[in-house]
């Protein structure tokens, strides 16, 4: 029961980070739209926006791992030990890119 409560708390934190990243990303897109005065900001098909939003956080996560492997075995182990924390950062990053790309299509 305690385990389920901890997992639910983690999911809640992840959802909060995702939502705040999304809002921040959308705000950034709106700001950029106002600056350039030319809609839409990114003239790409929706499926490409979705792919980019999923690809960027995955690439960042992969980059962190590859750098750790190149740096030392110890660094990789520390990352593996704290994977849940890193995943929280990925949630925020996905929210940020997702929000930006959704916002960039609007107007």
């Amino acid at each position: 029961m305690a385990d389920i409560a901890i997992i639910l708390a983690y999911v809640g934190v992840a959802a909060l980070l995702l939502a705040s990243g999304d809002r921040l990303g959308e705000r950034a897109a709106c700001f950029a739209l106002r600056r350039c005065q030319r809609p839409p900001l990114l003239c790409l098909p929706a499926w490409l926006h979705v792919s980019i939003a999923l690809l960027i956080p995955s690439l960042v996560l992969a980059g962190v791992f590859v750098t750790a492997v190149a740096y030392s075995r110890n660094a990789l182990e520390i990352i593996a030990n704290n994977l849940e924390l890193i995943l929280l950062a990925v949630f925020f990053l996905t929210g940020l890119t997702g929000g930006f790309l959704c916002g960039a299509r609007r107007l």
């Binding site: 305690a2 385990d3 983690y10 809609p39 075995r73 182990e77 704290n82 994977l83 995943l87």
Partner: protein, 220 residues
């Protein structure tokens, strides 16, 4: 010029809004599915099965025989509540690393979000009962520290220092040596080098640690 001037017709705005919602469903839905699979597999996992439970019971019996009753009690309670688990994703990664001839071992780990489970890795089955008992002591040190604090504390490398230290302090009592389950012994010594020596430099002067560091080519 007004900054909030609409660029499109109302029907276009409506369509764009629908697009944005659909894109969010696709992006965050994919993320949620992947994250849920990862979380469940690496924190709840699946049971090790009948053979796995038997192997763990043998290691627990060995710990009891060697007088490590407190560790044997914790391990026995975990075994009784089906707390020894395995992760399919980590299993796949280890098998992939091994098929690529990478020097990679994975004995066991205690998940961050679950305080009453120990995950058994592929390498656990490569060692005999003595090596498994020693690995169990390491993991039980994690579990004990884990249960004392919410989420186990960060960073977890601090826990590794304590767990390897406990494994080192008990390895003779368990019967672990370079000739008996040497893989587990050398893995423990690598852990001593990586985690324990930075936190406890005095261990550097112990004869067995000095010898192991020389053998591993890590200097005196």
């Amino acid at each position: 010029m007004a900054l909030s001037r609409p660029f499109c017709a109302p029907e276009q705005l409506e369509r764009n809004w629908e697009h944005a919602v659909l894109m969010r469903v696709l992006i965050y839905g994919t993320l949620a599915v992947v994250a849920a699979l990862l979380l469940v597999d690496t924190n709840l996992g699946t049971s090790v099965g009948k053979y796995g439970r038997q192997a763990v019971s043998t290691a627990v019996a060995h710990l009891e025989k060697r007088g490590m009753t407190s560790d044997a009690d914790v391990a026995g309670r975990l075994a009784a509540s089906d707390g020894f688990r395995e992760s399919k994703i980590y299993g796949y990664i280890v098998r992939l690393a091994r098929s690529s001839d990478l020097d990679f071992s994975f004995y066991a780990y205690t998940p961050l979000l679950s305080r009453s489970r120990v995950f058994i890795g592929e390498s656990f089955w490569d060692v005999g009962v003595v090596g498994r008992s020693s690995v169990l002591i390491h993991e039980i040190a994690h579990i004990t520290r884990h249960q004392e604090r919410l989420l186990g504390g960060f960073p977890r490398s601090a826990d590794e220092a304590q767990a390897y230290r406990r494994q080192y302090l008990t390895y003779r009592a368990v019967g672990l040596s370079p000739s008996t389950d040497g893989i587990a012994y050398w893995n423990m010594m690598m852990g001593i080098y990586t985690y324990v020596l930075p936190a406890y430099p005095e261990y550097r002067y112990r004869p067995d640690v000095r010898l192991a560091m020389r053998e591993l080519g890590l200097g005196d």
